[in-house]
Subunit: 795 residues, 2 copies
């Protein structure tokens, strides 16, 4: 990647270079402080008065001088070496710093032409920051060059690795702050270097920026003695380079050298791997940068030390509008950057300030890698017919849906072998989730030691397995946001581990969709399997279908939820999900043998509708409303509803039963609440307005009420689902424990359809007896009743 | 703690000791395999047939021999040194191993008298394992001596630290498995040693058990060269001791020595700290135990290597019932432990097997530390009157509720200074959340370096701050489950980081409540603040009120949710939460200045009811139903509803308005769905059955529908709440963006109360104009309309 490697020689900045770097840094610092404080008088052409100060002082100063320093020095090496680079800014509360640099390099004005690179634009830059209707205080989708929301901490390094995968020419720098370094996801991410292929992936350069403090406390890593921190980073597999100090000249020199040494080492490691196909796991560099928090800001305020302490975390001088002394201090602080040397009379940055900035798309705020949709290519998707299972008659043959899907995914892996823009991630579960067909097309990424007994490990593999849902999610987010495709397969219960991460990603997508300059990126696709109903081995701790509830709280323009009831429907929805952009698609599907209900054509039509009547499964004659609607969503509920319908046909043949299956959960929402929401006439056509509806749902039953409460027929709806009645037990016992079993559903029907008479009462008793028989049988045999285990749809 | 320190001398096991340790280990291995496979013939007194084999083979063998080894050797040192010890078993899928040991030591039969320590009991132990209606396959609350659910991985070490805090005489051993070691929470937990006080806390001894594999992959740490792993562990601040091998005799000798060296070192470090009050951060020992996965199990099955590979993760021989060859292998495997030497003819363990086991409550399965309720003392709670704010007139004075609460918590800290059974945890936010009064009573736990500028750091502090919600949660869980009290204060949005952890804790409590031998433990209390409506500094990434939705999906017997609307109600609900047992209490409250609505007495009465009519806030005259109900839950919605009621009184005085405030969200549920659920007559008495209800709710609006959908009046209910319309903006702009503002609420009333006539239409227009005025004002000034900012309740 480095076009002009500077290997193994010392970096000696000329005085001119040093002056220019410092000028850029000072300019960025000035613009940062300006954003926090100034409403007017941006160039300080007149003495500062209260009227120049913003009414609400918001933003985070403490981390910003360090971010400005890193941005400045990245500029230098990008320009000198002609790098394609991206930077992930972990301390994303330093929003004004990154905005300042983007404005300086011109990418801000190109993205937002009303914020020009002159005095008016500077005033606008200042005024809009953290101002209602303006720009957020943290790094966000609105920030040019960003793929990483500032806010929740912990994901920067995982995002950086995700961005670097399959981008052999890319350098991804990643600034990690003191606070973030204490989080679990970040701590796990250090080991991501065991999964980064020096041949086909780019490089990640972590910059651990220790300014000593979090919001109100010293940081753990900052208070380790340097040898102990060194051991830690070496233990993580890195080669640390330390830069420490508070003298700008010394730091400029040391940091310039640290960057050169790091990039030389990266170049060497990549060259070795790529030319000589060396097999040693590289020990990549990491820069440890220790500079004071709030550096160059006020040293003391109201008798308390501020620069170099946690007190500089947000707004160091809080009373600037009211207190003349604070205002005086602010003015001295701003003038200490000597803005008159940095900007001309029109507010344009001087040549010295601009000297270090690279050109065009190499600028960090202009790199297309950070606007991944620009680089996205359509995924080559093979015809589903090649993978579909025959299903001439419903409910006779069995297939494992995820295994069927595995064939389809394997073909995609094969078809992207050269392009390398598709990855599968998962926490050590690809085989357990029965997707192992993919291993015929790609092994599992692994750079660490291998031994003979290992299987499917491959230095160049594109299946990513690590026992950290956080890493899986972070990698995939970074991969998608830089324009590639992927799928995360996960145990349903444990995907809650990334609840908070997916919230942030949905927020990112929601905001991005509103920004015309951001090109749509491939969707984040989840395959949730090993689900709540089939934890025969594991029991209660593995039973939780609530991720769907979690994502459905989020922006409807982004969220899609699919519960395909069999193998062909799983193929169809996955195909759809992989074609889509800017969504989060949650697909819940089983890995255990499951009846095939629909042929591929039927599956396609059904999935396109998202919900529909399964005529063949009911007993209504098409003449007016049925007596009862049996609705289902999810593979296990669908089976139980079909079995219940079968029982009803045999025992109460005169009852007109309609079976409705829902694949796309958001279709139940009103049209005004979700783009997929059905109009009322369509909903009423499926569910009727006044007949009883017994709804068997895969997850927590009240979700259906939350989706459908505004429908006319809602008052007649009775939902069965998972109610935390879990343990290690058989599949049928699980549904019995949660009252989702076929017998209970038949009883529900009899309880709710009026006027059924004595025969129905007898049938109801028979169902209750079957449940009793189940309890006795399972206590004795530990297995399910033969009549249940052997049931097939009679048709 | 060590009563007989064996410092600095080599451990030399006698042949008798070695034989006894090995016998115990073999017995445990035998019983482990027996649980996975055998339905009958537990002592192998007859040749194995298919009829002796369980119909479903479930469980995890791979990790179990290692857990059995650790249990055996812990027995030895506990007995030899007279230790009080607890063990946290991270690879909790090794359930049969821990059950086997508990049965051997007799604690199992004491806990479950029907599972006797003889051949019948052994048969029952085998038969019940992973059998429907039996015991779970993972370690669970049912497992004697356990405080840590096996299932989701990552929390063992944090639990271990939580258990050790304020237990100076306790040793907490913690086995960490290969897979778990890759997770983020576990990676972060290594640094917990910077928070463990060698004087007042006990010791944690991590045992990193590397058997090389996860479910289907090698593990990252297992494939580090030993020097690199050593650096990592030293970087974590530990002194590593390595034990590696597959020869039992050698491993017994090496592990015995490793335990002795570790415990000697712990004793030395504690003595130094406690006697000499040394100030150096201790470098605690860690044992790295490398033994083969599935050790002593079948080496090859069907031509594939199994022992020592991932293939031994679950059931190494899967076809035992059908395949004679597998059955033959199983029999050979079981007989390889020489059961006839381990158990007498009645199935009782022999003296050799029992030789290493400690007595009574020192047994790991009998320690009261793992049944924390037995050790819990009532928390001394000071009178609330000392902290309450005067509120003679509602809505005139302002207080920051969490700051008021801080005084109460500080007093609890003071009153537990000697007992040391109360802790406050939070991710670097105690001061930011305005609870900093506690620092006058206790500093923040911190063992790392301090410098002069630091504040409130204290080696013996009981406020725990680390920027990891996972660690906070894990510490508190471990602390509570061993019988102490605490509170977790967290930014509302970021508590989603522990969604999955709290699910597991709720499952734990739900199951524990069903076990008569488990004494109730103090509740897990959350104070969620810095909430969605007041992210003026931070914006969209910090806005998420969905944790309440998440916990309300879980077991109703465990979950409680409170939204106190002011300072005195916050005091009242927190007092209640801190007195409770076996619950998860979620309290959502603001830290920003908030009107005082209720006096302490009123607050107590209101919180006891959980929901009630605020007569003084409405305009109904008590004569029949009101024209409209304005309901609210949460501080900001309450303020907007009161302001709306004020507007209605002024503009439409003839309208009979009722104001209902809900503090306890679960009161809205039907009685049959939650113990706090209101009976219908009470609900109808508050909300009416047929008048319009405008409900202003703190979080996602559909939650209210999900809680109330079965109520008669539900069809008249219109809910306003947060709908992901977030950004960095002013408080009032946030409510306007989400249609929760006073003007919108008045418009909602006018839209829904029939027959209001022309005057109402004029008022409606005036409200719409006010919203327009707001938009213009904020664009111009960046602040809220003066009429909003200066509003108080006129009364």
């Amino acid at each position: 990647m480095p076009k002009t490697p500077h290997q193994d020689r010392r970096t000696t900045l000329t005085n001119g270079e040093l002056r220019a770097l410092d000028a850029h840094w000072r300019a960025a610092n000035y613009l940062t402080a300006g954003q926090i404080y100034l409403l007017a008088n941006p160039l300080l052409t007149e003495p500062l008065t209260g009227a120049h100060i913003k009414p609400r002082l918001l933003g985070h100063w403490g981390t910003s001088p360090g971010l400005n320093l890193v941005y400045t020095h990245l500029n230098r090496v990008i320009k000198a070496r002609g790098l394609d680079a991206l930077c992930v800014w972990g301390p994303g509360h330093g929003g004004p710093a990154v905005l300042a640099n983007s404005w300086l390099e011109g990418s801000y004005s190109e993205t937002y032409p009303d914020v020009t690179r002159d005095v008016e634009g500077m005033a606008r830059l200042f005024g809009q920051f953290s101002f209602p209707g303006g720009v957020p205080s943290h790094i966000a989708p609105q920030t040019p060059g960003s793929i990483h929301e500032g806010g929740e901490l912990g994901y920067s390094l995982a995002h950086a690795y995700g961005a670097a995968l399959d981008h052999p020419d890319l350098l991804v720098a990643c600034v990690i702050g003191d606070g973030e370094a204490e989080t679990g996801p970040l701590a796990a991410s250090w080991h991501a270097n065991k999964f980064l292929d020096p041949v086909y992936d780019g490089a990640v350069l972590p910059i651990l920026h220790l300014n000593g403090y979090k919001i109100a406390n010293p940081a753990v890593l900052a208070r380790l003695p340097e040898p102990e921190l060194d051991e830690l980073l070496k233990g993580y597999g890195h080669a640390p380079i330390h830069v420490t100090g508070d003298d700008p000249v010394q730091i400029h020199r040391a940091l310039a050298e640290a960057f050169d040494r790091s990039l030389d080492r990266i170049a060497l490691l990549q060259r070795t791997a790529r030319q000589e196909r060396g097999n040693e796991r590289p020990h990549w560099p990491v820069i440890v940068l220790r500079t004071p928090k709030g550096w160059t800001g006020p040293a003391w305020v109201d008798g308390e030390p501020v620069a170099g302490t946690w007190r500089s975390h947000q707004v160091p001088l809080a009373g600037v509008r009211e207190k003349p002394e604070h205002r005086r201090q602010l003015e001295a602080w701003l003038r200490s950057y000597r803005p008159e040397e940095l900007f001309d009379a029109e507010g344009r940055p001087t040549a010295d300030v601009l000297a270090c900035i690279p050109e065009g798309a190499r600028r960090l705020g202009a790199t297309p890698y950070a606007n991944g949709g620009l680089r996205t290519r359509e995924l080559p998707l093979p015809p589903l017919d090649d993978f579909a299972v025959p299903a001439d008659k419903p409910g006779v043959t069995l297939h494992e849906p995820t295994r069927v899907l595995g064939g389809f995914l394997a073909q995609i892996m094969r078809d992207t072998a050269t392009r390398r823009d598709f990855r599968l991630v998962g926490p050590d579960e690809t085989a357990s989730n029965r997707l192992d067909a993919v291993f015929a097309a790609s092994g599992k990424a692994w750079q660490a030691q291998t031994i003979q007994v290992d299987e499917h490990l491959d230095r160049h593999g594109r299946v990513m397995e690590v026992l950290s849902e956080h890493l899986c999610q972070g990698w995939l987010e970074g991969y998608l946001l830089t324009g590639r495709h992927g799928l995360f397969s996960c145990y349903e219960a444990f995907v809650h581990i990334v609840d908070s991460m997916v919230s942030q990603h949905i927020k990112w997508l929601k905001t991005s969709r509103e920004l015309p300059w951001r090109a749509p990126v491939p969707s984040l696709n989840y395959l949730l399997t090993s689900h709540v109903w089939r934890q025969d081995h594991n029991g209660f701790s593995h039973q939780d279908p609530g991720f769907v509830d979690h994502v459905l709280n989020k922006s409807p323009e982004v969220v899609r939820v699919y519960l395909p009831p069999d193998a062909n429907t799983l193929l169809s929805v996955t195909d759809h999900a992989l074609r889509s952009r800017d969504y989060v698609n949650v697909i819940v599907a089983g890995k255990q043998p499951c009846f095939d209900w629909l042929s591929l054509d039927q599956a396609r039509a059904h999935c396109a509708r998202g919900a529909g009547i399964w005529d063949w499964a009911g007993t209504e004659n098409g003449d007016g409303d049925p007596d009862v609607v049996l609705a289902c969503a999810g593979d296990v509920p669908t089976q139980e509803v079909l079995a219940a319908s079968d029982l009803l046909r045999r025992h109460l043949p005169e009852l007109a039963v309609r079976v409705v299956n829902v694949v796309d959960m958001t279709r139940l929402l009103p049209r005004e609440d979700h783009p997929h929401g059905m109009p009322d006439f369509e909903y009423d056509g499926l569910f009727t307005t006044d007949q009883p509806v017994i709804f068997a749902y895969h997850g927590y039953p009240w979700l259906i009420h939350r989706l459908a409460y505004r429908r006319t027929g809602h008052r007649n709806m009775h939902v069965r689902g998972y109610r935390e009645m879990g343990t290690t037990t058989t599949p049928f016992d699980m549904v019995v424990r949660n009252d989702l079993d076929r017998y209970r559903l038949v009883m529900d029907v009899i309880d709710r359809v009026p006027g059924l008479g004595v025969r129905a009462a007898v049938v109801r008793q028979r169902m209750a007896d079957a449940r009793t028989r189940h309890h006795a049988w399972i206590r004795e045999h530990g297995t399910d009743l033969p009549e249940v285990a052997e049931w097939t749809w009679a048709g």
